[in-house]
């Protein structure tokens, strides 16, 4: 019976600590997002009526997060989960949702928002796909938040969901969204103007990360350092891409901040093109704490590079 007594004490202690740590009901909505861009947009719309946390940090590659149990704890206490979708988070988010034991976050629940629903998705594969082609996203390229126009579309989705979850704050959310949208729209016009002279530029990028950005700015990718998405390139392919860069006189190689730049740098050295590392998310570089700042940084960086090329009389 000694065991029964011990078990009793143990369960009693558990119950006590549980009660002790339960947070008192809070007025604000608790939102958890998978990537920091979604958190930043939610924060702008939700203002002081929401408490937002992002699972991935700006310096982390969201493809490859681990399903840490501590994220389950975050989700267990959340009112709303916002994720990128298009299978970006497939390696870890399903486990987190299951482990969170929070019915509101289940698919179809009020607290489950797939931000990709209204996005015009690029690169949806047609025909058969299989893994011999590398790490293919069968639902299309998930990096759509790197086009600021998609930020507005996602903002609208988040607005609708926040209104649904907290109808009494609808007017407040509406006003915040309008402010976010109008400011960003004006900035988009400015960025487009600054980039207009460089429309048609061909670049090489490491991974298929900047497709939406290039689509927006009118750039195109002549090739990728990765031969197949997610699979490290072979020497043969690197030699091929280096020749291609020389042949097409490509001046810029793009790499996201969370991808190791060593291989891209190697290709840059051999081909004479310039490696430009761009932040791929809010928090990806210092001082990028809100969504518009991400693009201000990207555009400024590109502008500097292009101007330099121009001063050498080279058309980028």
């Amino acid at each position: 019976m000694k065991f029964a007594k011990l078990a009793g004490i143990w369960i009693g202690l558990l119950a006590f600590t549980t009660i002790f740590f339960i947070n008192p009901a809070q007025a604000e909505l608790k939102v958890v997002t998978t990537i920091p861009d979604l958190a930043a947009i939610t924060q702008e719309i939700g203002g002081n009526k929401v408490k937002v946390q992002s699972i991935a940090k700006g310096y982390q590659d969201p493809h490859f997060l681990e399903a840490k149990p501590s994220y389950m704890v975050q989700l267990n206490q959340a009112d709303l989960l916002i994720y990128v979708g298009l299978q970006l988070e497939i390696g870890w988010l399903p486990l987190l949702i299951q482990g969170a034991r929070n019915p509101a976050l289940n698919l179809g629940g009020k607290g489950n928002l797939d931000a990709s629903r209204a996005i015009q998705v690029l690169e949806v594969p047609t025909g058969e796909v299989d893994r011999s082609m590398g790490d293919i996203h069968p639902e299309g390229n998930p990096h759509y938040l790197l086009d600021p126009r998609n930020g507005i579309i996602v903002g609208q989705e988040i607005l609708d969901r926040l209104k649904l979850l907290s109808p009494k704050d609808s007017a407040y959310f509406e006003a915040n969204f309008k402010n976010f949208r109008d400011k960003l729209t004006a900035q988009i016009a400015d960025w487009e103007k600054r980039m207009a002279p460089f429309k048609g530029t061909q670049v090489v990028s490491y991974h298929k990360l900047f497709e939406y950005l290039m689509n927006w700015l009118g750039f195109s990718a002549a090739g990728y350092i990765e031969e197949k998405p997610g699979i490290p390139p072979t020497a043969k392919h690197l030699a091929f891409i280096t020749e291609l860069i020389k042949e097409k006189k490509i001046k810029i190689i793009l790499n996201g901040n969370y991808t190791d730049p060593k291989i891209a740098q190697l290709v840059a050295d051999k081909s004479g093109a310039k490696l430009v590392i761009l932040p791929a998310a809010v928090g990806g570089e210092e001082d990028i704490d809100i969504y518009p700042k991400l693009f201000e940084r990207i555009i400024s960086k590109l502008e500097v590079e292009f101007r330099q090329l121009q001063s050498f009389n080279v058309r980028p």
């Binding site: 558990l14 490859f64 840490k68 698919l107 790490d135 190791d260």
Partner: protein, 405 residues
């Protein structure tokens, strides 16, 4: 002769690894040849490139991830099919012990020299309806005969609780939860094999898992099981239940490091209709720096298990043992690991202590395949030590698996 056989196995294995990594070596065009050679050289020197996260071998693919949308099938006609993934394990093994020396096979000594199918496993997962999810795992151990390794439904809508009903790997410690292809080493720890047998503790029953409202991850699991385990329980009546409790806590020490502490206890009736019980404690430290998550990781895991049977029988009266292992990822696709096993603290009557030292090297090209080579030195008390070498090929096809932490 057995040595010759082993050399053959090893050569085939090396050949596979070599072919797999060196597909870049096809004859290139003249023009790019020198450039290619330069890159080849540079690649060999530079730390490996980014790409898919190789899972540490200990946590290879878990159950197929149900797309957040429920199914990963794309066509309309396939929309409601379960997510399916198939895992295969091929094994080449060598042992210095000549066959037929021992009548009874003790833990760690079942390894024979030859090439085998270690296991083929098919996993099916789907949401049943808005309330339930189902997981079925069919295994063909050694490639022969289908058995239901796991088959259970889980609830989706109970706040803070998952209720699972069916047959599953019972939450006793860390190792017992793993499928063969998820083992951190190719073979199981001695103590797990000793007290639960080769299959581990996988009983039919009901599992309630409750996430406590604490600032860190804290979970209690209580199970009501049909005590069928052949080594520990096996009550002849077939109607006696076993009861299990597991308490798991995990703390984030930093962005990169977590510490997990688990305690387990199970009690039930044995073949004498008397009491069998087992208890365990496990401690795991994991480190994976978020900025370099693809390239570096370190895991240190230790587990101590103890079991007691009343009255003492030919299997054991009481027996305890531990293992401690480290796994270190030193490059994007490479892991090196070490393990120490000690069986016999306390010793089972007439068995003495057995220890085993293991080391393992893993090459993990993508999250869907792994090639691993392991060496064991197994030393039963008062007997000559046994050398064992194992080489394993591990692959997963089908639905994208989610990876357990």
């Amino acid at each position: 002769m057995s040595m010759m056989k082993w050399v053959g196995v090893l050569s085939i294995f090396s050949l596979i690894c070599f072919l797999n990594t060196s597909f870049a070596q096809q004859p290139p065009e003249e023009k790019t040849k020198s450039l290619e050679e330069e890159f080849q050289k540079a690649l060999e020197q530079a730390p490996s490139a980014p790409g898919p996260t190789p899972q540490q071998p200990g946590t290879q693919a878990g159950s197929p991830a149900l797309g957040i949308g429920g199914s990963t099938a794309t066509g309309l006609s396939r929309a409601f099919n379960p997510a399916i993934s198939i895992n295969g394990l091929f094994l080449g093994s060598y042992t210095s012990r000549e066959p037929g020396e021992e009548a009874e096979v003790r833990p760690g000594e079942e390894i024979t020299t030859g090439v085998h199918i270690q296991e083929v496993e098919a996993q099916f997962s789907a949401f049943v309806d808005p309330y339930l999810r189902a997981d079925v795992i069919l295994a063909l151990p050694k490639g022969e005969g289908v058995e239901v390794e796991e088959g259970y439904i889980s609830t989706l809508n109970i706040p803070s609780v998952i209720l699972r009903i069916g047959k599953l790997h019972d939450p006793f410690g860390k190792h017992n939860l793993l499928h063969t292809h998820q083992f951190p080493f190719i073979d199981p720890p001695l103590i797990n094999e000793r007290i639960f047998g080769e299959e581990g503790l996988t009983e039919i029953g009901i599992d309630v898992s409750y996430l406590l409202k604490l600032p860190w991850f804290s979970e209690v699991r209580l199970d009501l099981l049909n005590g069928d385990n052949e080594v520990l329980f096996n009550s002849p009546k077939g109607s006696d239940l076993a009861y299990l409790a597991h308490f798991k806590n995990l703390w984030d020490l930093s962005d990169a490091t977590t510490l997990e502490l688990g305690e387990s206890y199970v009690v039930g009736k044995n073949e004498f209709e008397d009491i069998s019980q087992a208890a365990g404690v496990d401690l795991t430290l994991k480190w994976r720096p978020p900025q370099r998550a693809l390239y570096r990781a370190f895991i240190w895991q230790t587990e101590y298990l103890f079991a007691k049977k009343d009255p003492a029988d030919q299997t054991f009266d009481k027996v305890g043992g531990l293992y401690t292992l480290v796994q270190y990822q030193f490059a994007r696709r490479w892991w090196i690991q070490g393990r120490y096993d000690l069986l016999g603290i306390p010793e089972a009557e007439g068995e003495g202590k057995t220890y085993r030292v293991s080391s393992l090297l893993a090459f993990v090209p993508t999250e869907f395949s792994a090639f691993r080579v392991q060496y064991n030195y197994l030393k039963p008390e008062d007997e000559e030590g046994i050398h064992q070498v194992l080489a394993q090929v591990n692959f997963t096809i089908g639905s994208h698996p989610a990876h357990q932490y």
